[in-house]
């Protein structure tokens, strides 16, 4: 998150990712405005096309490269697929990857249009296609910025349930700080386990185990999740980007 306290080492790739994204967005805005206002005027058609080629394209390379760097820095590549397939990240990848291909197609079509314009064979009609594609891309980036910043949760986020201790359930208190979990028990009997997450840190955290993720808990607050565990080893993590890689992960044993 832009305005959150992050583990060390993630700030610079995030800065590059954001700078790249805003350069792409600015290049797209300039291109859209120039192509929409051109009405056949060669100067504006060229400004529209070269804004895409010389500004938005390098911005996209920076955004994409820094995004991949951040993905690895935050340890997403090490998480199980049920944890890393979150909606906001999927939206980011769709816009980044498929949007990138769409962007290249817009550039190729626009390039042909500019070539025909320069040779006097056309009044730049093909650049109208580039304009429409740039508009679609700009809308895609708005959705991506919303998704990457608001981080809407989908199937991986399970609502927290009230603690309901039964005769066969085990209670485990999980203290969260920056950036580690402290569990009152590292080994529990198999069956129902009620985890009480207490956030004693300065930033929000959650707790995810065996496919269930607690609500995001603000500093000083707590929540509980009830999970059914068969005998085995279970990875637990904080799913806030970068927190697991910074140390908020571990293994609980159910006997």
């Amino acid at each position: 998150m832009f305005a959150a306290i992050r583990p060390a080492g993630q700030d610079f790739p995030l800065l590059l990712h954001i700078v790249g994204a805003t350069i792409v967005f600015g290049g797209l805005l300039a291109s859209i405005a120039a192509l929409a206002l051109a009405r056949g005027e060669a100067k504006l058609l060229r400004v529209g096309y070269y804004s895409l080629l010389l500004v938005a394209l390098p911005g996209m390379a920076i955004m994409w490269g820094a995004g991949e760097w951040l993905y690895h820095k935050q340890g997403w590549n090490k998480l199980p697929s049920n944890l890393k397939n979150v909606d906001w990240l999927t939206i980011g990848f769709i816009v980044g990857d498929y949007g990138g291909l769409f962007f290249i197609a817009a550039l190729v079509i626009g390039g042909i249009g500019i070539r025909r314009l320069n040779s006097g064979k056309s009044d730049g009609g093909l650049l109208k296609v580039t304009l429409v594609m740039a508009l679609v891309l700009a809308l895609g980036y708005i959705v991506a910025v919303w998704a990457m910043t608001g981080k809407p949760t989908g199937s991986t986020a399970a609502p927290a349930v009230a603690a309901s201790s039964t005769a066969t359930s085990t209670a485990v208190t999980v203290d969260a700080t920056e950036f580690k979990f402290t569990l009152t028990k590292m080994q529990v009997p198999h069956g129902t386990v009620v985890f009480t997450l207490v956030n004693q840190g300065k930033v929000s955290h959650d707790f995810s185990i065996n496919g269930k993720t607690s609500a995001l808990v603000a500093p000083g607050k707590s929540t509980t999740i009830t999970v059914s565990l068969a005998a085995g080893k279970y990875l637990y993590v904080c799913t806030v980007p970068g927190h697991a890689n910074a140390g908020m992960e571990g293994t609980l044993i159910a006997t």
Binding site: M1, F2, A3, A4, I5, D11, L14, L15, I18, V19, A21, T22, I23, F25, G26, G27, L28, L29, A30, A33, A34, L37, E41, K43, L44, V47, S51, V55, G59, Y141, I142, V145, W146, T149, G150, K151, P152, T153, K202, V203, S204, A218, P219, G220
Partner: protein, 159 residues
């Protein structure tokens, strides 16, 4: 998404709009430096006007939603050092960029006067206005302040 998440997401969308607006107008400002014809100056000025509107939306949205976010989120407060630094930088950026709008209106005004006088050909005076350093310096100052805001927001010194 919670209410707080929505406000925060809108804050960052307006921040992206602000920086995007700066990138957009920089492109045109650079192109304008080689322009000396009144009609081309006016055409490019239309993009500057749109870019300026985008910047104003970004400026207003960023500061209002940013302060709102700082009150809503328990780990953030507007009186934290890095937040005060961001607000001061925002004020510098806003003052500089609003003043630069006045500077960049001058070549457009001159182009209109030339066209009204029937002088549609290249003009050295117009070229000089398009290459004037005052607007460029103000825009450079505003852009530097915005870049520093982004760095401040990410690194949050003292947080």
């Amino acid at each position: 998404m919670s209410y707080v998440d929505w406000i925060f997401a809108l804050h960052l969308l307006t921040a992206a709009t602000l920086v995007g607006g700066f990138v957009m107008t920089w492109i045109v400002v650079v192109v304008l430096r080689s322009v000396n014809a009144p009609d081309e100056t006016l055409s490019l000025n239309r993009i500057v006007v749109i870019g300026s509107a985008v910047i104003v939306v970004g400026l207003v949205g960023t500061i209002s939603l940013g302060i709102w976010t700082a009150f809503l989120r328990p780990e953030l407060r507007p009186w934290h050092g890095w937040a005060i630094a961001a607000i001061v930088l925002w004020a510098i950026a806003a003052a500089a960029v609003l003043r630069s709008f006045v500077e960049y209106a001058k070549p457009a005004q001159k182009a209109r006067e030339l066209i009204a006088a029937g002088k549609t050909g290249p003009s050295d005076e117009l070229r000089a206005l398009n290459r004037a350093t005052t607007g460029l310096l103000l825009r450079g100052l505003a852009s530097a302040a915005v870049v520093l805001i982004v760095i401040d927001m990410i690194y949050k010194p003292g947080a």
